[in-house]
Symmetry: C2
Subunit: 240 residues, 2 copies
Protein backbone atom coordinates (compact mmCIF):
# COMPACT_ATOMS: atom_id res chain seq x y z
CA UNK A 1 0.00 0.00 0.00
CA UNK A 2 1.45 3.39 -0.92
CA UNK A 3 2.19 5.82 1.87
CA UNK A 4 1.75 9.59 1.92
CA UNK A 5 5.20 10.13 0.51
CA UNK A 6 5.28 7.63 -2.33
CA UNK A 7 1.91 8.68 -3.77
CA UNK A 8 2.48 10.13 -7.22
CA UNK A 9 -0.35 9.87 -9.73
CA UNK A 10 -3.97 10.87 -9.33
CA UNK A 11 -4.98 7.23 -9.71
CA UNK A 12 -2.65 6.25 -6.92
CA UNK A 13 -4.14 8.94 -4.73
CA UNK A 14 -7.65 7.62 -5.31
CA UNK A 15 -6.42 4.07 -4.63
CA UNK A 16 -4.90 5.28 -1.41
CA UNK A 17 -8.25 6.66 -0.24
CA UNK A 18 -9.93 3.40 -1.19
CA UNK A 19 -7.36 1.28 0.65
CA UNK A 20 -7.71 3.50 3.71
CA UNK A 21 -11.52 3.05 3.65
CA UNK A 22 -11.07 -0.74 3.42
CA UNK A 23 -8.68 -0.60 6.36
CA UNK A 24 -11.16 1.48 8.41
CA UNK A 25 -13.93 -0.97 7.53
CA UNK A 26 -11.92 -3.96 8.74
CA UNK A 27 -11.00 -2.14 11.93
CA UNK A 28 -14.60 -1.10 12.61
CA UNK A 29 -15.82 -4.68 12.10
CA UNK A 30 -13.25 -6.05 14.54
CA UNK A 31 -14.16 -3.42 17.13
CA UNK A 32 -17.82 -4.44 17.02
CA UNK A 33 -17.01 -8.17 17.20
CA UNK A 34 -14.72 -7.62 20.17
CA UNK A 35 -17.15 -5.27 21.94
CA UNK A 36 -19.93 -7.85 21.69
CA UNK A 37 -17.58 -10.55 22.97
CA UNK A 38 -16.67 -8.34 25.91
CA UNK A 39 -20.35 -7.90 26.82
CA UNK A 40 -21.35 -11.52 26.25
CA UNK A 41 -18.41 -12.98 28.19
CA UNK A 42 -18.10 -10.24 30.87
CA UNK A 43 -14.57 -9.60 29.62
CA UNK A 44 -13.78 -6.15 31.01
CA UNK A 45 -10.15 -6.28 29.90
CA UNK A 46 -11.25 -6.80 26.31
CA UNK A 47 -13.79 -3.98 26.74
CA UNK A 48 -11.07 -1.54 27.75
CA UNK A 49 -8.95 -2.57 24.76
CA UNK A 50 -11.86 -1.84 22.40
CA UNK A 51 -12.40 1.59 23.99
CA UNK A 52 -8.71 2.42 23.52
CA UNK A 53 -8.78 1.32 19.85
CA UNK A 54 -11.44 3.85 18.88
CA UNK A 55 -8.86 6.61 18.43
CA UNK A 56 -7.44 4.74 15.41
CA UNK A 57 -10.66 5.30 13.44
CA UNK A 58 -10.83 8.95 14.51
CA UNK A 59 -7.33 9.45 13.13
CA UNK A 60 -8.08 7.56 9.92
CA UNK A 61 -11.17 9.69 9.28
CA UNK A 62 -9.16 12.84 9.80
CA UNK A 63 -6.41 11.58 7.50
CA UNK A 64 -8.93 10.76 4.75
CA UNK A 65 -10.52 14.21 5.13
CA UNK A 66 -7.20 16.01 4.88
CA UNK A 67 -6.07 13.86 1.99
CA UNK A 68 -9.39 14.38 0.16
CA UNK A 69 -9.21 18.15 0.49
CA UNK A 70 -5.59 18.14 -0.70
CA UNK A 71 -6.46 16.01 -3.73
CA UNK A 72 -9.41 18.25 -4.67
CA UNK A 73 -7.28 21.38 -4.37
CA UNK A 74 -4.35 19.92 -6.30
CA UNK A 75 -6.11 17.87 -8.98
CA UNK A 76 -9.40 19.75 -9.36
CA UNK A 77 -11.20 16.57 -10.32
CA UNK A 78 -14.51 16.45 -12.19
CA UNK A 79 -17.53 14.16 -12.31
CA UNK A 80 -16.92 10.60 -11.10
CA UNK A 81 -13.48 11.38 -9.67
CA UNK A 82 -14.90 14.20 -7.58
CA UNK A 83 -17.72 11.93 -6.45
CA UNK A 84 -15.17 9.27 -5.46
CA UNK A 85 -13.46 11.77 -3.19
CA UNK A 86 -16.63 13.26 -1.70
CA UNK A 87 -17.86 9.68 -1.24
CA UNK A 88 -14.69 8.70 0.62
CA UNK A 89 -15.25 11.60 3.04
CA UNK A 90 -18.81 10.44 3.71
CA UNK A 91 -18.01 6.73 4.03
CA UNK A 92 -15.13 7.36 6.41
CA UNK A 93 -17.51 9.41 8.61
CA UNK A 94 -19.93 6.45 8.70
CA UNK A 95 -17.14 4.01 9.56
CA UNK A 96 -15.88 6.29 12.31
CA UNK A 97 -19.41 6.23 13.76
CA UNK A 98 -19.49 2.42 13.56
CA UNK A 99 -16.31 2.47 15.66
CA UNK A 100 -18.11 4.77 18.13
CA UNK A 101 -20.86 2.16 18.39
CA UNK A 102 -18.22 -0.44 19.31
CA UNK A 103 -16.77 1.88 21.92
CA UNK A 104 -20.24 2.61 23.33
CA UNK A 105 -21.03 -1.09 23.61
CA UNK A 106 -17.69 -1.86 25.26
CA UNK A 107 -18.20 0.96 27.80
CA UNK A 108 -21.41 -0.62 29.01
CA UNK A 109 -19.75 -4.01 29.67
CA UNK A 110 -19.04 -3.36 33.38
CA UNK A 111 -22.63 -2.29 34.18
CA UNK A 112 -24.01 -5.24 32.21
CA UNK A 113 -21.65 -7.68 33.96
CA UNK A 114 -23.27 -6.91 37.30
CA UNK A 115 -26.36 -9.00 36.56
CA UNK A 116 -26.72 -11.86 34.08
CA UNK A 117 -29.71 -12.27 31.79
CA UNK A 118 -30.72 -15.66 30.33
CA UNK A 119 -28.08 -17.19 28.03
CA UNK A 120 -30.58 -17.19 25.16
CA UNK A 121 -30.63 -13.43 25.31
CA UNK A 122 -26.88 -13.13 24.75
CA UNK A 123 -27.15 -15.53 21.83
CA UNK A 124 -29.83 -13.22 20.43
CA UNK A 125 -27.54 -10.23 20.86
CA UNK A 126 -24.66 -12.06 19.15
CA UNK A 127 -26.90 -13.09 16.26
CA UNK A 128 -28.10 -9.52 15.92
CA UNK A 129 -24.54 -8.20 15.84
CA UNK A 130 -23.61 -10.82 13.21
CA UNK A 131 -26.49 -9.71 11.04
CA UNK A 132 -25.48 -6.05 11.27
CA UNK A 133 -21.80 -6.87 10.68
CA UNK A 134 -22.74 -8.94 7.68
CA UNK A 135 -24.55 -5.90 6.26
CA UNK A 136 -21.45 -3.82 6.81
CA UNK A 137 -19.21 -6.43 5.14
CA UNK A 138 -21.57 -6.69 2.17
CA UNK A 139 -21.62 -2.96 1.59
CA UNK A 140 -17.84 -2.70 1.92
CA UNK A 141 -17.48 -5.51 -0.64
CA UNK A 142 -19.92 -3.64 -2.90
CA UNK A 143 -17.77 -0.52 -2.47
CA UNK A 144 -14.58 -2.44 -3.30
CA UNK A 145 -16.15 -3.83 -6.47
CA UNK A 146 -18.18 -0.67 -7.28
CA UNK A 147 -21.18 -2.94 -7.76
CA UNK A 148 -24.48 -1.10 -8.08
CA UNK A 149 -26.35 -4.43 -8.13
CA UNK A 150 -25.26 -5.33 -4.64
CA UNK A 151 -26.58 -2.08 -3.20
CA UNK A 152 -30.23 -3.13 -3.34
CA UNK A 153 -29.51 -6.35 -1.44
CA UNK A 154 -27.96 -4.37 1.41
CA UNK A 155 -30.87 -1.95 1.60
CA UNK A 156 -33.48 -4.71 1.58
CA UNK A 157 -31.72 -6.65 4.32
CA UNK A 158 -32.06 -3.59 6.56
CA UNK A 159 -35.63 -4.70 7.28
CA UNK A 160 -34.33 -7.90 8.90
CA UNK A 161 -32.23 -5.78 11.22
CA UNK A 162 -35.25 -3.68 12.21
CA UNK A 163 -37.30 -6.83 12.93
CA UNK A 164 -34.57 -8.43 15.03
CA UNK A 165 -34.03 -5.21 16.97
CA UNK A 166 -37.74 -4.96 17.77
CA UNK A 167 -37.72 -8.54 19.01
CA UNK A 168 -34.68 -8.00 21.27
CA UNK A 169 -36.16 -4.75 22.57
CA UNK A 170 -39.38 -6.52 23.52
CA UNK A 171 -37.48 -9.36 25.20
CA UNK A 172 -35.46 -6.94 27.31
CA UNK A 173 -38.56 -5.07 28.46
CA UNK A 174 -40.00 -8.38 29.58
CA UNK A 175 -36.93 -9.18 31.71
CA UNK A 176 -37.17 -5.74 33.28
CA UNK A 177 -40.82 -6.24 34.18
CA UNK A 178 -40.17 -9.71 35.60
CA UNK A 179 -37.56 -8.50 38.07
CA UNK A 180 -36.66 -4.88 38.88
CA UNK A 181 -33.11 -6.00 39.70
CA UNK A 182 -32.65 -6.56 35.96
CA UNK A 183 -33.57 -2.97 35.07
CA UNK A 184 -30.14 -1.34 35.08
CA UNK A 185 -28.33 -4.07 33.16
CA UNK A 186 -31.21 -4.42 30.70
CA UNK A 187 -31.26 -0.68 30.08
CA UNK A 188 -27.59 -0.85 29.14
CA UNK A 189 -28.31 -3.87 26.95
CA UNK A 190 -31.10 -1.89 25.26
CA UNK A 191 -28.60 0.78 24.34
CA UNK A 192 -26.18 -1.88 23.06
CA UNK A 193 -28.95 -3.26 20.84
CA UNK A 194 -29.71 0.27 19.65
CA UNK A 195 -26.03 0.72 18.80
CA UNK A 196 -26.08 -2.45 16.73
CA UNK A 197 -29.21 -1.27 14.96
CA UNK A 198 -27.38 1.94 14.09
CA UNK A 199 -24.58 -0.09 12.47
CA UNK A 200 -27.26 -1.25 10.02
CA UNK A 201 -28.17 2.41 9.42
CA UNK A 202 -24.57 3.25 8.67
CA UNK A 203 -24.36 0.32 6.24
CA UNK A 204 -27.45 1.77 4.51
CA UNK A 205 -25.84 5.23 4.41
CA UNK A 206 -22.73 3.73 2.81
CA UNK A 207 -24.90 1.91 0.25
CA UNK A 208 -26.52 5.24 -0.65
CA UNK A 209 -23.17 7.00 -0.92
CA UNK A 210 -21.89 4.18 -3.14
CA UNK A 211 -24.90 4.59 -5.41
CA UNK A 212 -24.10 8.29 -5.65
CA UNK A 213 -20.43 7.57 -6.45
CA UNK A 214 -21.26 5.11 -9.22
CA UNK A 215 -24.28 6.82 -10.81
CA UNK A 216 -24.00 10.47 -9.77
CA UNK A 217 -27.63 10.39 -8.70
CA UNK A 218 -29.33 9.93 -5.37
CA UNK A 219 -31.53 6.94 -4.67
CA UNK A 220 -35.10 7.97 -5.40
CA UNK A 221 -36.89 5.99 -2.75
CA UNK A 222 -34.73 6.20 0.28
CA UNK A 223 -35.14 3.25 2.62
CA UNK A 224 -36.30 4.80 5.85
CA UNK A 225 -33.64 4.26 8.49
CA UNK A 226 -36.17 3.23 10.98
CA UNK A 227 -36.36 2.14 14.57
CA UNK A 228 -39.75 0.45 14.82
CA UNK A 229 -39.66 -0.12 18.57
CA UNK A 230 -41.42 3.20 19.16
CA UNK A 231 -44.59 1.25 18.37
CA UNK A 232 -44.09 -0.89 21.45
CA UNK A 233 -46.52 0.85 23.76
CA UNK A 234 -47.64 -0.33 27.16
CA UNK A 235 -50.83 -1.94 25.87
CA UNK A 236 -48.95 -4.11 23.39
CA UNK A 237 -46.54 -5.40 25.97
CA UNK A 238 -48.52 -6.06 29.10
CA UNK A 239 -50.74 -8.45 27.18
CA UNK A 240 -47.98 -10.93 26.51
Amino acid sequence: MPTHHTVRSFDEELKYLEAKIAEMGGHAERMIERAINAVVHDDLHLASEVIAEDVILDESEREIDEKAVTIIAKRQPMAVDLREIIGAIRISADLERVGDMGKNIAKRAPAIAETRQPATFYRGLEAFASLALNQLKEVLDAYASRSVERIDAVRERDEEIDAMYTSLFRELLTYMMEDPRNITACTHLLFCAKNIERIGDHATNIAETLHYIITGSYLATERPRDDLTYKLGVSGLTEK
Copy 2:
Protein backbone atom coordinates in the same frame (compact mmCIF):
# COMPACT_ATOMS: atom_id res chain seq x y z
CA MET B 1 -31.94 35.03 -0.46
CA PRO B 2 -30.70 34.12 -3.95
CA THR B 3 -32.19 31.07 -5.59
CA HIS B 4 -30.45 28.47 -7.75
CA HIS B 5 -31.15 30.46 -10.88
CA THR B 6 -30.10 33.93 -9.81
CA VAL B 7 -26.77 32.80 -8.33
CA ARG B 8 -23.98 34.36 -10.36
CA SER B 9 -20.70 35.01 -8.60
CA PHE B 10 -18.63 32.63 -6.52
CA ASP B 11 -19.28 34.79 -3.46
CA GLU B 12 -23.01 34.55 -4.03
CA GLU B 13 -22.70 30.79 -4.30
CA LEU B 14 -20.92 30.58 -0.95
CA LYS B 15 -23.52 32.93 0.57
CA TYR B 16 -26.22 30.64 -0.77
CA LEU B 17 -24.71 27.62 1.02
CA GLU B 18 -24.43 29.66 4.21
CA ALA B 19 -28.03 30.85 4.03
CA LYS B 20 -29.19 27.29 3.40
CA ILE B 21 -27.28 26.08 6.48
CA ALA B 22 -28.90 28.85 8.58
CA GLU B 23 -32.30 27.79 7.27
CA MET B 24 -31.59 24.13 8.10
CA GLY B 25 -30.46 25.14 11.59
CA GLY B 26 -33.66 27.09 12.27
CA HIS B 27 -35.76 24.22 10.99
CA ALA B 28 -33.89 21.64 13.09
CA GLU B 29 -34.30 23.77 16.23
CA ARG B 30 -38.05 24.11 15.68
CA MET B 31 -38.39 20.37 15.09
CA ILE B 32 -36.76 19.60 18.44
CA GLU B 33 -38.84 22.20 20.30
CA ARG B 34 -42.04 20.85 18.80
CA ALA B 35 -41.08 17.20 19.38
CA ILE B 36 -40.45 17.89 23.07
CA ASN B 37 -43.76 19.75 23.33
CA ALA B 38 -45.52 16.79 21.75
CA VAL B 39 -44.02 14.42 24.34
CA VAL B 40 -44.53 16.71 27.33
CA HIS B 41 -48.15 17.58 26.46
CA ASP B 42 -49.18 14.21 24.95
CA ASP B 43 -49.89 16.04 21.69
CA LEU B 44 -49.96 13.24 19.12
CA HIS B 45 -51.14 15.51 16.32
CA LEU B 46 -48.11 17.74 16.81
CA ALA B 47 -45.92 14.62 16.94
CA SER B 48 -47.15 13.49 13.52
CA GLU B 49 -46.49 16.97 12.09
CA VAL B 50 -42.89 16.84 13.32
CA ILE B 51 -42.39 13.39 11.79
CA ALA B 52 -43.68 14.67 8.43
CA GLU B 53 -41.38 17.73 8.53
CA ASP B 54 -38.20 15.67 8.67
CA VAL B 55 -38.14 15.24 4.90
CA ILE B 56 -37.45 18.98 4.52
CA LEU B 57 -34.04 18.60 6.16
CA ASP B 58 -33.25 15.49 4.11
CA GLU B 59 -33.92 17.49 0.95
CA SER B 60 -31.92 20.48 2.15
CA GLU B 61 -28.91 18.29 2.92
CA ARG B 62 -29.10 16.75 -0.53
CA GLU B 63 -29.41 20.18 -2.14
CA ILE B 64 -26.35 21.46 -0.26
CA ASP B 65 -24.38 18.37 -1.25
CA GLU B 66 -25.26 18.72 -4.92
CA LYS B 67 -24.62 22.45 -4.89
CA ALA B 68 -21.28 21.95 -3.12
CA VAL B 69 -20.07 19.39 -5.64
CA THR B 70 -21.16 21.66 -8.51
CA ILE B 71 -19.31 24.63 -7.02
CA ILE B 72 -16.13 22.61 -6.49
CA ALA B 73 -16.24 21.29 -10.04
CA LYS B 74 -16.98 24.69 -11.60
CA ARG B 75 -14.90 27.01 -9.45
CA GLN B 76 -12.07 24.73 -8.34
CA PRO B 77 -11.66 26.66 -5.10
CA MET B 78 -8.55 26.62 -2.93
CA ALA B 79 -7.75 26.95 0.77
CA VAL B 80 -10.42 28.68 2.86
CA ASP B 81 -13.03 28.64 0.07
CA LEU B 82 -12.65 24.89 -0.33
CA ARG B 83 -12.88 24.46 3.42
CA GLU B 84 -16.08 26.54 3.46
CA ILE B 85 -17.65 24.16 0.97
CA ILE B 86 -16.42 20.95 2.61
CA GLY B 87 -17.54 22.46 5.93
CA ALA B 88 -21.03 23.15 4.57
CA ILE B 89 -21.32 19.47 3.54
CA ARG B 90 -20.36 18.35 7.04
CA ILE B 91 -22.54 20.84 8.92
CA SER B 92 -25.60 20.04 6.83
CA ALA B 93 -25.09 16.34 7.65
CA ASP B 94 -25.06 17.18 11.36
CA LEU B 95 -28.20 19.32 11.06
CA GLU B 96 -29.97 16.59 9.16
CA ARG B 97 -29.16 14.24 12.05
CA VAL B 98 -30.51 16.77 14.56
CA GLY B 99 -33.76 16.67 12.58
CA ASP B 100 -33.67 12.86 12.84
CA MET B 101 -33.43 13.25 16.62
CA GLY B 102 -36.58 15.40 16.53
CA LYS B 103 -38.36 12.79 14.44
CA ASN B 104 -37.21 9.99 16.76
CA ILE B 105 -38.51 11.86 19.82
CA ALA B 106 -41.85 12.64 18.16
CA LYS B 107 -42.30 8.98 17.16
CA ARG B 108 -42.10 7.90 20.78
CA ALA B 109 -44.86 10.32 21.89
CA PRO B 110 -47.72 7.77 21.61
CA ALA B 111 -45.94 5.12 23.70
CA ILE B 112 -44.93 7.72 26.28
CA ALA B 113 -48.48 9.13 26.45
CA GLU B 114 -49.77 5.79 27.75
CA THR B 115 -48.38 6.35 31.26
CA ARG B 116 -47.52 9.65 32.92
CA GLN B 117 -44.39 10.18 34.97
CA PRO B 118 -44.14 12.91 37.68
CA ALA B 119 -44.50 16.47 36.32
CA THR B 120 -41.03 17.32 37.64
CA PHE B 121 -39.59 14.80 35.24
CA TYR B 122 -41.09 16.48 32.17
CA ARG B 123 -39.76 19.82 33.42
CA GLY B 124 -36.34 18.16 33.63
CA LEU B 125 -36.68 16.88 30.07
CA GLU B 126 -37.72 20.33 28.82
CA ALA B 127 -34.79 21.98 30.62
CA PHE B 128 -32.44 19.40 29.12
CA ALA B 129 -33.78 20.04 25.62
CA SER B 130 -33.41 23.83 26.15
CA LEU B 131 -29.79 23.35 27.16
CA ALA B 132 -29.04 21.27 24.07
CA LEU B 133 -30.92 23.66 21.78
CA ASN B 134 -29.03 26.57 23.28
CA GLN B 135 -25.78 24.82 22.38
CA LEU B 136 -27.03 24.38 18.83
CA LYS B 137 -28.06 28.07 18.58
CA GLU B 138 -24.70 29.20 19.96
CA VAL B 139 -22.73 27.17 17.46
CA LEU B 140 -24.91 28.31 14.55
CA ASP B 141 -24.36 31.94 15.64
CA ALA B 142 -20.63 31.23 15.83
CA TYR B 143 -20.84 29.82 12.30
CA ALA B 144 -22.74 32.89 11.03
CA SER B 145 -20.11 35.21 12.52
CA ARG B 146 -17.13 32.89 11.82
CA SER B 147 -16.08 33.43 15.41
CA VAL B 148 -13.31 31.13 16.60
CA GLU B 149 -13.62 32.56 20.14
CA ARG B 150 -17.17 31.29 20.56
CA ILE B 151 -16.19 27.73 19.67
CA ASP B 152 -14.54 27.03 23.02
CA ALA B 153 -17.64 28.16 24.91
CA VAL B 154 -19.75 25.64 23.02
CA ARG B 155 -17.32 22.81 23.64
CA GLU B 156 -17.04 23.52 27.34
CA ARG B 157 -20.79 23.68 27.79
CA ASP B 158 -21.01 20.12 26.49
CA GLU B 159 -20.07 18.92 29.97
CA GLU B 160 -23.28 20.44 31.39
CA ILE B 161 -25.24 18.40 28.88
CA ASP B 162 -23.47 15.20 29.93
CA ALA B 163 -24.19 15.92 33.62
CA MET B 164 -27.87 16.68 33.02
CA TYR B 165 -28.25 13.56 30.89
CA THR B 166 -26.76 11.38 33.60
CA SER B 167 -29.15 12.87 36.15
CA LEU B 168 -32.24 12.29 33.95
CA PHE B 169 -31.08 8.75 33.18
CA ARG B 170 -30.74 7.98 36.88
CA GLU B 171 -34.17 9.48 37.63
CA LEU B 172 -35.84 7.36 34.94
CA LEU B 173 -34.24 4.15 36.21
CA THR B 174 -35.65 4.97 39.64
CA TYR B 175 -39.19 5.35 38.27
CA MET B 176 -38.82 2.02 36.51
CA MET B 177 -37.73 0.28 39.68
CA GLU B 178 -40.55 1.83 41.72
CA ASP B 179 -43.28 0.52 39.45
CA PRO B 180 -42.88 -1.96 36.59
CA ARG B 181 -45.86 -0.34 34.83
CA ASN B 182 -43.57 2.63 34.17
CA ILE B 183 -40.96 0.53 32.37
CA THR B 184 -42.15 0.85 28.77
CA ALA B 185 -42.82 4.61 28.87
CA CYS B 186 -39.59 5.26 30.78
CA THR B 187 -37.60 3.24 28.27
CA HIS B 188 -38.94 5.45 25.49
CA LEU B 189 -38.16 8.53 27.60
CA LEU B 190 -34.61 7.22 28.07
CA PHE B 191 -34.19 7.10 24.31
CA CYS B 192 -35.63 10.64 24.02
CA ALA B 193 -33.07 11.85 26.57
CA LYS B 194 -30.35 10.04 24.61
CA ASN B 195 -31.52 11.81 21.43
CA ILE B 196 -31.26 15.17 23.17
CA GLU B 197 -27.78 14.29 24.38
CA ARG B 198 -26.83 13.54 20.79
CA ILE B 199 -27.97 17.04 19.75
CA GLY B 200 -25.20 18.29 22.03
CA ASP B 201 -22.75 15.97 20.22
CA HIS B 202 -23.82 17.37 16.87
CA ALA B 203 -23.33 20.92 18.19
CA THR B 204 -19.81 19.86 19.21
CA ASN B 205 -19.19 18.36 15.76
CA ILE B 206 -20.31 21.63 14.14
CA ALA B 207 -17.99 23.59 16.46
CA GLU B 208 -15.09 21.38 15.33
CA THR B 209 -16.00 21.79 11.65
CA LEU B 210 -16.21 25.56 12.14
CA HIS B 211 -12.74 25.56 13.69
CA TYR B 212 -11.50 23.67 10.64
CA ILE B 213 -13.18 26.15 8.25
CA ILE B 214 -11.69 29.20 9.97
CA THR B 215 -8.20 27.92 10.79
CA GLY B 216 -7.62 25.02 8.41
CA SER B 217 -6.48 22.89 11.33
CA TYR B 218 -8.19 20.34 13.49
CA LEU B 219 -8.74 20.89 17.19
CA ALA B 220 -5.85 19.27 19.03
CA THR B 221 -7.62 18.11 22.16
CA GLU B 222 -10.93 16.86 21.00
CA ARG B 223 -13.63 17.07 23.67
CA PRO B 224 -14.76 13.52 24.11
CA ARG B 225 -18.36 13.28 22.97
CA ASP B 226 -19.26 11.22 25.93
CA ASP B 227 -22.25 9.50 27.40
CA LEU B 228 -21.31 9.02 31.04
CA THR B 229 -24.35 6.98 32.02
CA TYR B 230 -22.49 3.75 31.27
CA LYS B 231 -20.98 4.23 34.73
CA LEU B 232 -24.41 3.78 36.30
CA GLY B 233 -24.07 0.19 37.38
CA VAL B 234 -26.43 -1.74 39.58
CA SER B 235 -24.46 -1.11 42.75
CA GLY B 236 -24.55 2.67 42.32
CA LEU B 237 -28.27 2.75 41.78
CA THR B 238 -29.84 0.36 44.20
CA GLU B 239 -28.27 2.26 47.08
CA LYS B 240 -30.15 5.51 46.46
